[in-house]
Amino acid sequence: MITAALSLEFRNLMRSPLRLLTLVLVLSVGYFVIAQGQKDVSRWQESIDKGIEAQSESLEEARSYFAQGVPGPADRPWVDLRQNRYQDYYASVRLARDPAPLAGMAFASAESGAVTMRMYRFADPMLAQGNKIENPALAAAGGLDLVTVLTLLIPLLILALGVEVGGYERSTGLLPLVRVQTGRDRSWIWARCLAVGLIAAAAGLTLAAIAVTAAGAGLSDALPLCALIIAYVAVWTALLAVIALRARNPSHGAVGLGTAWIVLCVLIPSLGVERSAALAAGDFALDLTVEAREEKGLVYEKEQEELYAAVSERFPALIGKEPEPRSAGVNAVREGLRLINLEERMAEREEHSQSHTTLVKWMNLASPTLAFSHALEELAGRGPEVAQAFRQAMVDGLAKRAELSIAANWRMEPLGLKDFEDLVAASPAVFSRPTPDWKSPLLVLGVWLVALVGLANWLSRRESESQTKTS
């Protein structure tokens, strides 16, 4: 039956210019956005390369001063690489957030965190900006990338291809004929839905294959992507079946499918955005701005012993290395305290963003579209979790440098090349992306699929029973 349904759907597709146009549009828009995504990834990589180039220049410049035995550049006589702060300035290693293999498919993501950060004592990872200058007028349109094509257009393709399934058979009286010939009319409707699903899945997987090939991604990325696409198409196919089993005529089916698409792809997501706006309403980043600035000032008002106690608690390895007199090392201790404050702010922010994370989790349950788009963004390494992990890695790197820097300062000797190289070596240059969480959204899609298939079966059984009673 599925072969017959598949050949019917192919004939329908070839005969209907509107359906064919929809398929061609989805594929061509998909291909176009994949190409744009790859360009975006190139720009991302370029930004990292430039950062690393600047870093190499800075390191080489410092090394050349050490080699010449001079403290710094001749035109800036106050620069002295034997001092802590100038070593910190010249050893400002870039921490890079390499693009994930499939980063291009979510290039329109609203998450625009930094892709590279300069590691130095005044760095503020929480306010660092991304590599792109964005036109807000374009960004507010919602973006068009492969994630959008797969999440919004593939269901529309299913809608366009399957709009008449069930309704056509009922309105033309074909259904009793099918029942007589095959024994079960719902199998025919299911077969047609599956055929539509197969065509849509083929379109989605074709785009996935192009994206994977263009990005040179491996199987570890390609397989989850394909699994997610198949699961998402399966959910919409099951939804098509639910509506097809109830549709009295094609118009009824069209309205049903259109309404389902609007509810799942527009209305429920918009409720989520509204809620996120409400959560963000009171957040004017006072902790990162006014309060952070106040904290910097307060560092100078603290007693020496209080400063040493805080730093010893955070960096136990420094205990016993304090200089004599202690007042000589107090400036370095203040740097340590600044870092402690930064870590505290970071932890508070993390806690603060939990409400958004919880919201996204709940919204993923409410709509398969949201679960799918979230999973794809995760797979593309563009989610806020990755940006947060990157900021955390930066803070951790700064902590390592601060510890080293304090220890070097407390020796009360002019610093040398070894200190400089130690500082460079202690700065992590590579950020390890957290493993993308695509399994939970896949599970959500699975739950949706089971629920919809169950609903479809229940509906068709109920209809069969009512037909039996009527006859």
Partner: protein, 471 residues
Amino acid sequence: MILALFSNEWRSILRDGRGRLVITLGVLLALVSAWTSASTHASKERAQAAAVEAARCAWEDREVDSAHSRAHFGDYVFRPSGSMSTLDSGLQAVTGRVVFTEAHRQNDAVHKPQQAAASLLRYDRLEPSTVLQILAALVLVLAGFGVISSERESGRLNLLLIQGVSSRQLLLAKTLALWTLGVALCLVVVGANLILVDDVDIGRIAAFLGLHLATLWVVAALVACISARAKRTGTAAALLLSLWVAGAIVIPRLSAMSTATLDPLPGRDAFQAAMQADRQQGIDGHNPMDERRNELERKVLKEYGVSSREELPVSLGGLIMQADEEYGAKVWDKHFGELEGHLLRQDASVGKFSFLNPFQATDRLSMAIAGTGLNSHLEFLRQTEYYRRELVRRLNEEDAFGVARSENGRLLRTTTKEFYLSFDSFEYKPLALGEMLGRRTTDLLALALWIFGASALLILTARQMEARRVS
């Protein structure tokens, strides 16, 4: 006759279960969006006022320091949302809320808290403007796709025409019935807003209402025409839903992406590097070896008729810093001016799609009326920069002239606390409605053409129906 047909159409919409459901949902969404939006806005306003207060306290409570230290201490500007953002928050979710204003540097607006739920930001917020631009149009489509075609299919159309009803009267009555459904939704949204929000701008609200009524007239006319021209109700439904999806979801994204592709913005690195390169051509206020600085020093000494800095009755540092600032301002004007031109050029390119898609014209005009669009954002940045310049200029002048020589020739600062208290906080002055709309003439023209075109199509469709009846 038109009135009878009109009331008959309303009765038929209300009699139909689908019509009742669609209207109930529409009204519910309108009320929910107005309520949530007003409540989010109130929290935001409170938080913004608290943030401004905190920054002000920090400024006022600070001990009397040197004017240049104060310029580095800087001030924070927190973007206000504006009373009309309850109806249309525009670009506010994708633009930063906080700008740090300080000496030597022009910082970007940072902190977009909704990025913590980035995967949701691909979708529109459920706010009054979304309800009126996207969902109200959908309500009209769902309530009206069979407004004529179902009459034709059931044979009632012929009956009506035989009874003496002209096609024009019929079409007009049906369109008016649909439109008044839209009018009701508009009134619910605006009425709820007037009740829920304290600070209202009647002129802007009237413009907002007028704009959406005009758009819904276009939608109602198109729905009626397509329903009249379609052979089957199913075809009308499919076509209208496809047009809605294209206009509300696909074309805005496609236009944004194609514009960004054809006329890309520079990367942040490239932009900052170019600015930095130009900045280095000017005076460096913090580099005593800088030749341009020394040249200025010679000029000042000559002006005061003295031979050394120690003899000057003013602080040379303040004068140098101001010269540095003025040069920096020129560099900023050049680069930001180019960037602003680029952003506006992109915006104008997207604006051309208003001729293709009435929803885009409405969206852009709605943001202009609400003061939440691109022009308002750029105006906010411009006013912030002028505030920064004025702040730094006054501080530099105080640094230069707020001094007196002691008997032993030392330069003593005479700056008082009152001087710092005399600074006013930043206050954003939104552009006037006329000015905002004056910058949106393309969209106004596009909408006018849509109104004219849709009305003309009504007449042509009525003629076609008449001709069909005669033949």
